[in-house]
Amino acid sequence: MLYDFGYGAILRVPKILFPDSAIPKDPNEALHFDRLSLVFEYPEMVQTTYPSLLDLVMQRDSGHYVPTPDRFAVLIPWLFYFHGEFGDTSVEYANKGPDWRPQRMFLDLEARVRYQAKLHHIPDAKVTLIDSRNEGLREVHAPVTDKAYHDRLVKKGEENGYDYDSIQTIYVERAVSPYELYMICQNPDVSASMECKAYVYMKSNHFQYRMIFPSEAVAHTDSLVRTINTMVDGWLQK
């Protein structure tokens, strides 16, 4: 069935993904919405369900949580077409257009670091990128700008038996990549949360989305994004 995101971006998505009541009788009639959401299982890419936090929390607390690093549910709360004009991130446009974050998140972080560094009188503070052992990804390392605050959290972590600095890892895509990505993965040994959450922009078809999956599956990120990209390319109506 046809799904019209506006700006000439139309996908032909499998109608099995929608309830019968939502499917137009005329196959040439498109649904008109500017985003959709979906849940599937990687790597099979079949429809599945996404567990609630309460499920995960109580499984974890009771010792029944079984990590599934190679087969896992992926939630995409929203996917939409990124029209070129949304690249204008002025205040005026930010208030008009759909969410423009995927392309901007990393820039936001750099701006935040510069701002914090200025507040704390730290010259030349900047974000550094290090190739990750996870294929297709680089780790983002932001400098500590508020040392006293940071030291307090590190000390508290030591007292409670964890390394605060490993609470989460920030990733972006490699320098040459068919997508842009900004992802934060929580370390379940340190954090109350246990998920990776990413903003992704696919360069070939200009769709972007929010993606959530279990932290233990981070090694599959590059393959996962490329698979989604291929799926959306296959749905795209030329």
């Binding site: 799904y3 929608f18 649904l31 919405f33 500017d34 985003r35 959709l36 959401s37 979906l38 849940v39 429809q47 369900t49 996404y50 567990p51 609630s52 936090l53 309460l54 499920d55 929390v57 109580m58 499984q59 009771s62 029944h64 939630l75 709360p77 929203w78 939409f80 205040v91 930010a94 208030n95 008009k96 257009g97 759909p98 969410d99 820039l107 936001d108 972080l109 701006a111 935040r112 701002y115 932001a142 500590v144 605050y149 940071h150 508290k156 972590g157 409670n160 964890y162 609470i167 989460q168 920030i170 934060i184 040994d189 340190v190 954090s191 109350a192 949360s193 959450k197 929010r210 959530i212």
Partner: protein, 188 residues
């Protein structure tokens, strides 16, 4: 799969309001300055009322703003009592009771102690708080410094985004909440 339309934030924060939010998060040890995000270290995961003062601060900002929807105001007005499990309030008793009843009704809490159930509900409530406040830090408009101003997402976007992820979809897991059991996540 579901579909909907995106709408911009209901209201952006001023720089003073954003600074006030970050200061409060720092005081609680919840702000990670290297990523400009909220984090919850594991030793704080089940802390009662972890986000109560943050919700109250946000409500103080939006309560008289005509551009913020009534349901959003209501959500933030009730969220503090729920997050700190204030059993003197009807809304907390309703939300937590309904959630627990939903799980019990489905036979999904067998063998769990009341303490474990309470801890699970509190941890879930705190993780929802993490998602809510992170979505606020990431919303808003661009300032002259290139920063996000922070802001209140639309209520529909709150539920369909990361907060919706907290609710999950209908997974066949032991503790999957029933339709009735979605109450806690929906409200807090």
């Amino acid at each position: 799969m579901t579909s909907s339309n995106i709408s911009p934030p209901q209201v952006a924060f001023t720089s003073d309001q954003l600074a006030g939010l970050i200061t409060r998060l720092q005081a609680l040890g919840l702000y990670n300055s290297a990523s400009d995000t909220v984090v919850i270290p594991k030793d704080m995961a089940a802390s009662s009322g972890l986000f109560a003062s943050i919700y109250s601060y946000i409500y103080s900002i939006i309560q008289n703003n005509p551009h913020v929807s009534a349901e959003t105001k209501y959500w933030f007005s009730q969220a503090p009592a729920i997050n700190r499990d204030d059993t003197s309030t009807a809304v907390d008793n309703f939300i937590r009771g309904t959630t627990e009843y939903g799980l019990l009704y489905g036979g999904k809490l067998s063998g769990q102690s009341q303490q474990a159930i309470n801890s699970g509900l509190q941890r879930t409530s705190n993780l929802i708080g993490l998602n809510v406040v992170n979505s606020i830090l990431q919303a808003g408009t661009k300032t002259a410094d290139g920063l996000n101003s922070g802001g209140i997402p639309t209520f529909a976007n709150m539920l369909s985004g990361d907060i919706g992820a907290a609710i999950g979809t209908q997974a066949p897991l032991d503790y999957q909440q029933t339709l009735g059991g979605w109450a806690n996540a929906r409200a807090n």
